[in-house]
């Protein structure tokens, strides 16, 4: 078979929009795959040198080491404000944020809502894993009813802890959003679809028509306390029914 292994036969390799740095994510964590899809979308569009990314505080805080584009690290929850600052002074660049559910939908709620409401021409990549990964598995706004976390050890109790928040549906209501869609990256087909959505969203940025948000429902094997493969199954069975994949808001022609 080694005759197949030669440069001209390569059909898939790590994108040049990612660096060679080994990612610190836990085995099987969707963050890595999501990164790849974002990076491949950037590569496909040939906009590596015109893109500025913003990383959050969350497991993906160090994503600036992995994306081979100019990157800024924002304070917890403030990525969309930081992106606003960037985009307003560099309107010709492609600007994206990459944020977790705690970052985007808890502490960063005001920044998220208002960036979307202003229709900032940025792409928000939103990784919804239903948990605070980085800090060790506390409850996130998106944690499902009954789901266990280190701060809901007996399962999320809606009465005292509130409801899982569908922030994508919420921002889709705002005039300022142009394209809001929900995907996953846990299977090849889903990952490819997610990448297409990311590409579309980046392309839309040229139109200056408003904010695009691509939610990626993802896993956190470490804090869900499952193997990666189990976690992806659990995600399909429990997360998808509540956070159904698909477009939430599409551009009106």
């Amino acid at each position: 078979m080694s005759e197949i292994i030669k440069p001209e036969n390569i059909v898939y390799e790590k994108t040049k929009v990612m660096t060679d740095k080994v990612m610190h994510y836990c085995p099987g964590c969707g963050h890595g795959t999501a990164h790849k899809m974002v990076a491949e979308a950037i590569e496909d569009l040939g906009i590596q040198n015109e893109t500025i990314g913003v990383t959050p505080v969350g497991c993906s805080v160090l994503a600036y080491y992995y994306f081979a584009v100019d990157m800024q690290e924002a304070a917890h929850g403030r990525a969309t404000a930081v992106a606003t600052g960037i985009k307003r002074v560099m309107p010709e660049k492609y600007v994206f944020t990459y944020q977790g559910d705690g970052d985007l939908a808890a502490i960063g709620t005001a920044e998220t809502i208002h960036a979307c409401n202003r229709g900032e021409n940025i792409l928000i990549v939103f990784i919804n894993n239903g948990i605070y990964g980085m800090t060790g598995g506390q409850m996130a706004p998106t944690t499902l009813e009954g789901m266990k976390s280190s701060t809901s050890p007996y399962g999320r109790d809606l009465k005292t802890m509130g409801n899982p928040l569908k922030i994508s549906e919420l921002v889709a209501q705002l005039e300022g959003t142009y394209y809001v869609t929900r995907h996953s990256v846990h299977t090849p087909a889903n990952a490819r679809k997610a990448k297409r959505a990311l590409k579309k969203a980046l392309e839309y940025q040229k139109l200056n028509k408003g904010t695009c948000l691509v939610e990626i429902v993802s896993n956190c094997p470490s804090n869900w306390k499952m193997t990666p493969v189990e976690s992806n199954k659990w995600m399909e069975e429990h997360m998808f029914p509540f956070y159904p994949l698909g477009d939430i808001k599409v551009p009106q022609q």
């Binding site: 610190h24 994510y25 836990c26 085995p27 160090l62 470490s222």
Partner: protein, 183 residues
């Protein structure tokens, strides 16, 4: 007596609880103890370590840079902690997965086939107890009785039935530990 110990390995090998058991045992023997975990992003998935200090006196810092004993359960921890053992100190390690063995001549080096032994005992979870046994053989700073008492503090009530197995593991460890080199 002050014994400053680093225990390091992969997450899941039970290094944190090994340290806690040591400390609880120390308390049973009316010693001062501190336990300090490494925390940070490297905690997840990758390596894990903790520092346990057991002393007859008040303990100043729970974090130190050099150790009397390093208990090492994987290669990265070997690379990181071999140099931090005080001259005359002890390194004790599980043979499984170790490619580069300790080279220092100024410290005592002990090896254990603890993982192998655990498999033989049909419970990979007690590997850390086996290693603990080995350590206590070499440095008998705490009596076995007190370790058992300590165990019953760390283990939730419903696991107390596992104490005999753990005791067995510790004893087995005491048997299999091998001194490779004496400082």
């Amino acid at each position: 007596m002050t014994e400053e110990i680093i225990i390091a390995g992969f997450g899941g090998q039970g290094v944190l609880s090994m340290g806690q058991i040591l400390c609880y045992s120390g308390v049973m023997q009316e010693k001062e103890v501190t336990w300090f975990p490494s925390y940070g992003p490297e905690m997840r998935g990758g390596t894990a370590n903790c520092t346990a200090i057991i002393s007859d006196e008040k303990i100043s810092s729970p974090i130190v840079n050099v150790y009397d004993t390093a208990i090492v359960l994987n290669q990265p921890s070997m690379d990181k902690f071999e140099p931090t053992v005080k001259p005359g100190g002890l390194i004790i390690y599980d043979s499984n997965g170790i490619i580069r063995h300790p080279e220092r001549k100024d410290i005592t080096v002990c090896i254990m086939d603890a993982s192998e032994e655990a498999v033989k005992m049909n419970n990979t979870k007690i590997m850390n107890m086996i290693v603990l046994g080995g350590f206590l053989k070499i440095k008998p700073i705490i009596e076995l009785d007190n370790v058992i008492k300590g165990l019953s503090n760390v283990l939730p009530e419903r696991y107390h039935k596992l104490i005999p197995l753990n005791e067995q593991a510790i004893k087995r460890g005491m048997e299999i530990v091998k001194i490779v080199h004496k400082a």
